[in-house]
Symmetry: C2
Subunit: 525 residues, 2 copies
């Protein structure tokens, strides 16, 4: 018998098996799985009554919240596609994405309604505006989420007749191009990624996850599905704050959290750790970039907690490899523990040279990480040429450069794609360069990622002025801050006389990067 | 990207990630995952060189052994279908199955070659005879497994181009009909069942499984795939023996085992438990029938080990429900712990009345367990009418009667199908009745399952003689022993004057069973 693999199976199981169990803690609000299922059904019915049909796009712009969690299951229940926005982007980014995805309904956290109102006139497809949370009345032009859903019927919405290859979400990610691309993840992608999260991160019915990871990040890396399917408890965290994190871990008996290395750093640097009595020995899963070995050691030695590094991309749902102490990796080899690890079930990985041939498995030869798996996305939304560039001959080319060893364990050493990863966020250097080129005093420029202790990497701009002496680094940074999300702005801008180019005029970024990355064993952070 | 879900992914991952890790312990033999992969490749190539092609059937008749484990992956690697035989059957059963499945190659443990030789003239499709194990030379007419594979090439066989809906094994099971039916399990069935085993039984890379379960039982309930995929270690057990079990648990640091209740009993009754120093706190997973609550208590209290009850059928790959202490079930509610439990991920279950409507979720109303899931088999091999009887309107009707509660937790109370489960084996009462009817002194008969402390249930024959006084119970048992596998023979035969029938002449077996099952909360064991 063949039944489509649809992500709503996860909530259905939790609500059926654990109706009275705590599903969500969000500030003072505590929802059981029966509550969550009801809220999801009501939202789904409310969206249907607005005319949202199978395949329609619904976006959410929100920090982590129970509303965000509900939006995943309510949209997929009626066959709609969720577009989770990165709330750190600026209005012009949101405008581009909402128009590009042709979004019909926007679900927006109360703190973000103003930014959406600012671009309202240029949003070509949005028909409905729904505001979530906040204490006072919703702003004019918005409908209140809770009022809307309170009035909606409680019955499960009719089966939209989905196929497992239908798209469940479009997750916009910055990469090599100036504009973000919409990664289409299917039900099957997300379903099998959730099984791999459960298998390789050992997610159990008694896990309590603290949401140190933004839910918009690849659907909370799939935790939205994996933890729910097992009947675990979601503890929502709206923003990263050391005291709040330790308070919640202690009070809610948290056992599990996912994060970027920058969040791990915040946790390790929190000064009042000893004031908390934490007995749950939580598992901290880190991805985005390999953290310093010292972070792993501090987490395991000082706090006695458990560290697990994973590797993946939004395009891979994301879990590709996992690394925790086992037959191949000694528990106290902190450097090895911080590496990407070995493939998950059903994930074929090859590290390949420029002719698409595997490089030697000797821990030295560098090649591009390529993968063939059911967790690889369906394609970029309305960008078939970009899709064909990324998926060739049935293999997705990640753009990450790595070495691998005889056990197939990979270690990311550099990035082929011109992308900077800062605090877990992808930043396109092309996008920053585009902004800088708008400055009339700029002749040419290049943006590269440089190592940064806090964020892993930050962008550095190298700028050649039209007329020497008429431009400063601060001018460039200020100019960028008016045009780009703050996290994308260069932390430093240097005025230089020229940029290194090949004979044919091609910019040699690797030469620019060399001086900042020398004496390091890898060129990503 | 869509890649077919094929079970060889599990071995590929283990051999790639854990090449030097211990994969199999079989007596003095210890194989790493690299060894296992090589042995599998050689067997696959040997089978190919004999002309075994995609879709061809290969059977294995063997107690648990590393050969058995290898046969699963070698057949599926080349797209062949494995037919694992129950070694407890008699020659005429094997003859029926081998001819019915149209088996091309038989793989037979050295202790079982004689039984196959006895039926050789009537096997219509078998072309190749391969014997495994043993010390001396193989009998005449057989080729030696090790010699054959030693000469075979080591390269991975060419990709047979499989679809995930292709059949991976045909598992013959006794049910309501006198002849066993061939349950076709697909790659997708087995793959998703393996994920559910991993998720709900918490299978990890450092698990060591003792094979207290015959590998022929629904492909070792999927453990053949699940444990391998996670890179755990298989400790082979050829036959059930208390001392051997305790020795292996201690020596190999076993953490996990699956079994029927009768095996659990053997383990609990082993007298010299205290002579063993066991620190691994193994998880014992029991299925087949709910064991007595006292078994659960003894395992957890006396031994300090962990008990998990699951429920399923060969037709469901098999995992349908799982029960371990959690939000709904108190750890020391031994009776509740022995029940079937709640659905696994992606398993829809309904307890339905005779009109296919769900009965009340009140723990009292009895209905038939029906399920809709990707773990439900593709159909019975060459028995489309039987398939259509079992799968109706997209739901598989298990024939098991249960109550369910508000959490969807089910408790099996009776069996709709006329099948007896004894020591974990399905026995068709129709098959026993057929045998008894061959006795010239029998007028009519009925076989029912009655409670038995050792085996859960055993068959009881009620026989009406043609002429009073000319037939004894012992005659009937002796007659059966000449015709049926011993485990199927009635443990008792009673001579009666008449059998209760309805007005229309239909036999009322439930009336016969009542007297034996009164004062029990359920009518299965």
């Amino acid at each position: 018998m063949k039944v489509p693999l649809l992500v709503n199976d996860f909530l259905r199981r939790a609500a059926g098996t654990y109706p009275g169990k705590l599903a969500v803690v969000d500030g003072p609000l505590r929802l059981t799985y029966a509550d969550l299922e009801q809220r999801v059904a009501k939202l789904a019915n409310a969206l249907r009554s607005m005319g949202v049909a199978k395949g329609d796009r619904v976006c959410i712009l929100s920090p982590n919240s129970h509303y965000f969690l509900e939006s995943f299951y309510a949209t997929s229940a009626i066959g709609a596609i969720l577009v989770p926005l990165n709330y750190r982007l600026v209005a012009s980014d949101h405008e581009y994405i909402l128009n590009h995805a042709g979004v019909k309904v926007v679900l927006v956290d109360w703190e973000y309604t103003a930014i959406v109102d600012g671009i309202r006139p240029s949003l070509r497809t949005v028909e409905h505006w729904i505001a979530a949370g906040g204490d006072g009345p919703v702003p004019s032009g918005w409908r209140d989420w809770d009022e809307l859903t309170a009035a909606a019927p409680l019955d499960a919405p009719p089966d939209p007749g989905m196929d497992e290859d239908d798209v469940v979400s479009i997750n916009y990610t910055s990469g090599t191009t100036a504009r973000p691309k919409g990664v289409m993840l299917t039900h099957r992608n997300c379903y099998l990624n959730a099984y791999n999260m459960i298998a390789h991160l050992g997610i159990r019915h008694d896990d309590v996850e603290l949401w140190t990871l933004p839910m918009f990040h690849c659907n909370g890396w799939g935790g939205v599905y994996a933890l729910t399917g097992m009947g675990g408890t979601h503890v929502v965290l709206r923003s990263i704050d050391g005291r709040k994190i330790f308070d919640l871990i202690e009070r809610e008996r948290v056992t599990f959290a996912c994060m970027a290395p920058a969040v791990l750093r915040t946790i390790l640097d929190y000064p009042d750790k000893q004031q908390h009595r934490i007995e749950t020995r939580p598992r901290f899963v880190v991805a985005g970039a390999p953290p310093p070995a010292a972070f792993v050691e501090r987490l395991e030695r000082e706090l006695g907690w458990q560290f697990i590094e994973i590797y993946g991309l939004t395009e891979t749902s994301p879990l590709l490899t996992v690394n925790h102490p086992d037959h191949n990796v000694a528990a106290d080899d902190w450097g090895q523990r911080a590496r990407a690890g070995a493939p998950a079930i059903g994930v074929a990985i090859e590290v390949r040279d420029e002719h698409d041939r595997p490089v030697a498995k000797d821990g030295t030869a560098v090649g591009e990480v390529c993968t063939r798996s059911n967790v690889v996305f369906r394609g970029y939304w309305e960008q078939p040429a970009e899709t064909d560039k990324a998926i060739r001959d049935g293999w997705f080319h990640t753009g990450d450069l790595a070495v691998w060893d005889a056990n197939g364990t990979i270690h990311i050493v550099d990035r082929k794609k011109d992308v900077i990863i800062s605090g877990g966020e992808n930043i396109s250097s092309a996008e920053i360069e585009d902004a800088i080129y708008q400055h009339p005093g700029v002749l040419e420029c290049a943006v590269i990622g440089i190592p940064n202790e806090q964020w892993g990497e930050t962008p550095l701009a190298l700028v050649v002025p039209r007329r020497p002496g008429e431009l400063s680094g601060d001018d460039i940074i200020a100019f960028c801050r008016e045009r780009l999300a703050h996290f994308k702005c260069p932390s430093e801008a240097q005025i230089v006389a020229e940029l290194p180019r090949t004979a044919t005029g091609k910019l040699q970024k690797f030469k620019l990067r060399e001086q900042f990355w020398s004496n390091r064993d890898r060129k990503v952070n």
